[in-house]
Subunit: 287 residues, 4 copies
């Protein structure tokens, strides 16, 4: 029923490629086999590329370094756009100074520290400091005790009218081929529902994510949205968000969306990619 | 604006009184002061009464015993209708045998054991026994590690098409005068949202809760819904559920709904009690 | 993958059969072919049966008469339990007198009139009578102009704190083999969302619907839920509601759920019928 | 409790002002009295300003002309950013040719026509042309019969996997001081819920709306988000959206948010404007 396109043919039609990370470039076992050939081809062809990822657990430098360790050197910090960076921009513009409480690892708090704000782990929030907290960030599902952390977050937001920012819109993420973990976006959704306040969410499918990458290019040269294609494995984030921002989109079947389900899922969600490819790998002999 | 009624005058008009527990009879500090006088009056006047509670953490015998320890002997196990009892009835009718996984304390598992089913704490679910599990129960927010328990529940329900039963519909409950804790109903809502399956919920405002109490009376004598009044402190559970079941309702201001908010809350929710009283205490000199 | 059961074998195991109407007994073309044989068999075998339907557009007498016209005389008014009857019981218990505004046909208003209340079509609500209205009923999607009716309903509920009752929980219903119409439950959901108040809904899967039928039997003789089986074509109403009430359930594939989808739908919703049958027809040669 | 700021003092701190239209510049009776003085002051002070509005019922030329008729000549088409323009950009980028069905007035269809696409009113969609339709637009709540239009939209989206675009995210809008009308965004929400597909929505609080205005300025000169302030009367659209995009925000009390409610609404929603002003009027003697 569905038409499977050749990824190289698609790449040849655009000047800029946006890639989702998980399910496209890497998975729980490491790099998607052969993906380095894609980046060789992109360089050879002088194409621009960016990684657009709902990951606020680490800084772009740390994210890039994790690709380098796996042997992929083409991904440099300046090519990574993360929902963490949008969170940082928000703090820069809207929270000039003070304490910012967070749920996540110590590492995830670098977005707060790098602005000169004072990060406070949710476990340390108590009656003596609650009045000095200027914002609450949901950064990562690791690094804190869920029961203590979630309950403290609920009571902090009931007592204080401060912004609550969710730096990752995903509700769950794969940890093995069979298993999911609830993501910080899932915990944040529960807290939001209980306190009844409106949270601020950064991450695909929200267009602010795409705009951030688009603006980076635009700062250097004129660009039209027609020159860009978004490549992702998830209909509800990568494809919906890319479509809404006005980009052409490629759904790859190497992650969240399985070949046997793709037809049903497109029909039932109404989210239609411009192209469908098995993977984002450009085969060597195709060069 | 609002009219405050005298609780004794209301009691005099009905033959049967349904009481919510938390915020009406007891709070985080113990019994609501003077509430024993209400039950003395009910006995004197030969009125029937039942406690209708979203509490699945303990058996009716344990719940009654906790009132006795606080000095209130009028509440006996046969007068307690809990969402745990509906869960037990469901298991009795729909899960004839096998293992039932649960999130909650060991104590909350008595509903499973008392039917001859085999309770399995969520922490013990693994690949070797997952295929033998017949149902998953959300019983209590205590007794398990949230991160491990919630993630195991998510993966169990993704792998197995079994019923998921929530024995307490509340999303949060008060632990001190200032603080809430997320209830098992809140965690279950997050898991349901992530796995995308339909859970079965027992507890007010669902009418099955009221029907259970109504049926207990009806087994002994003819009864009309017009003879019953429901007394509670929460618009969304006690009052909405009582109204929908066709009962007259009393909102008391000794718990969840504060005197200063009652007017706004009724108008904004559209949930209107038949009467509003400060507390459910019948003053001695009123006898 | 799925096991298809023989409907006669199932019927033989129970004393009481609850049938959904649309998709089980009738469809947009008339009776399901052969369904009259089922009712002959039920009579022969002395089985009790009830029609449990989310239909508030007509009275039980009118509904029964529509079956008689199609040639099915086994369905008499006393065997029909409709969400309209629950609405009527609610009005009887909670709205003693006065004007009741409604969206629906004049015919659907008989539930209001038969109680001595004064029905007022939504088109006649205006500033001069708005203060006398005691409740708003959503009865049927026909009989009024949608734009005028929906806007009047929104403003009525913003100005007056009165109960809003939805007599049919369905959001849409089939009008031909290819086409749906939005049902009054769909319009009510939109109005509820806009005014932000809590509506009261009657109809499957809510257990009050099953309880009403159960109570009719119980008034005459002792009955256990284990003696009853619910037969329906829709997982989210008939099967979910039947399961939750503690009944065994039969999904038939003659309506909403197509044979090719049944496996996926059960897995994705987690709503599992006890049995699956092609239709509810008992073949003659099986007697 | 709340601090009321002087609007002129705020204007003096920023280089660019974004204004919501309804409730800020105009209301159901015409212009907000005195608002022309604000625009005189802005010109005098050489401030840039844009109208950022969830209105897709008319083109910027028609919208500007309606202000001119009321006597406000400062608002020119190039200063109006509407959700209709985002819809037009989407069509330009993603729907290269063909028929586009729409719900709305003939006037609202100009966004389709101006791109060389063929607009088709929802009333004309039928079995003979349904296969040629490339997208469905929700533009305006006027111009079509709701029952026929909504049901046709439901069936179109069930039969065809095409994008559904909502050009106005509002669910309702004020028509007099006392009454609301359901907006096209409210109808679209009902249709989306019934067909279960994902719609694309343009309009505040979505950041794409703010980005469009921001990009217009950026095309001409460098700009920082710190130079811009967003002025609106609605917490959930103007203030939430402005805050999330990183702008400072002014809530004015001349529209949706009443002075008596502002404190409660901010606390209960957690949406906090940078400033609160009675109106956006700059008084003459303040110049």
């Amino acid at each position: 029923m569905i038409h499977i396109d050749n990824f190289k043919t698609i790449v040849d039609k655009y000047n800029v490629i946006f890639f989702d990370a998980f399910g496209v470039i890497k998975n729980y076992q490491g790099l998607v086999p052969g993906i380095e050939k894609t980046f060789e081809y992109l360089k050879e062809q002088n194409k621009e590329y960016y990684i657009v990822t709902n990951d606020a657990s680490r800084s772009p430098v740390q994210l890039a370094s994790s690709y380098h360790k796996m042997g992929l050197h083409a991904i440099t910090p300046n090519r990574i756009i993360s929902s963490g960076m949008l969170t940082k921009e928000y703090l820069y513009l809207k929270v000039p100074e003070g304490m910012v409480a967070y749920l996540g690892t110590e590492g995830s708090a670098h977005y707060i520290e790098s602005l000169g704000l004072h990060p406070m782990p949710i476990s340390e929030v108590n009656d003596s400091n609650i009045d000095q907290i200027k914002a609450l960030l949901f950064l990562d599902d690791e690094g804190f005790d869920w029961q203590q952390g979630v309950n403290t977050a609920v009571n902090l937001l009931r007592k204080r009218t401060i912004p609550a920012i969710v730096a990752n819109t995903d509700h769950a993420y794969p940890v093995t081929i069979h298993d999911l973990s609830v993501a910080i976006g899932g915990l944040a959704m529960m807290v939001e529902n209980i306190v009844g306040k409106k949270f601020i969410r950064f991450g695909k499918p929200d267009s602010q994510m795409f705009m951030f990458a688009y603006d980076l290019i635009r700062d250097q040269r004129p660009i039209s949205k027609k020159e860009i294609v978004m490549v992702g494995d998830t209909l509800h984030t990568d494809i919906l968000g890319g479509n809404k921002f006005g980009l052409d989109t490629v759904l790859v079947l190497s992650g969240n969306t399985l070949p046997k389900d793709v037809d049903t899922r497109i029909t039932s969600t109404g989210i239609v990619p411009t192209y469908i490819c098995e993977t984002a790998v450009v085969e060597k002999d195709m060069f």
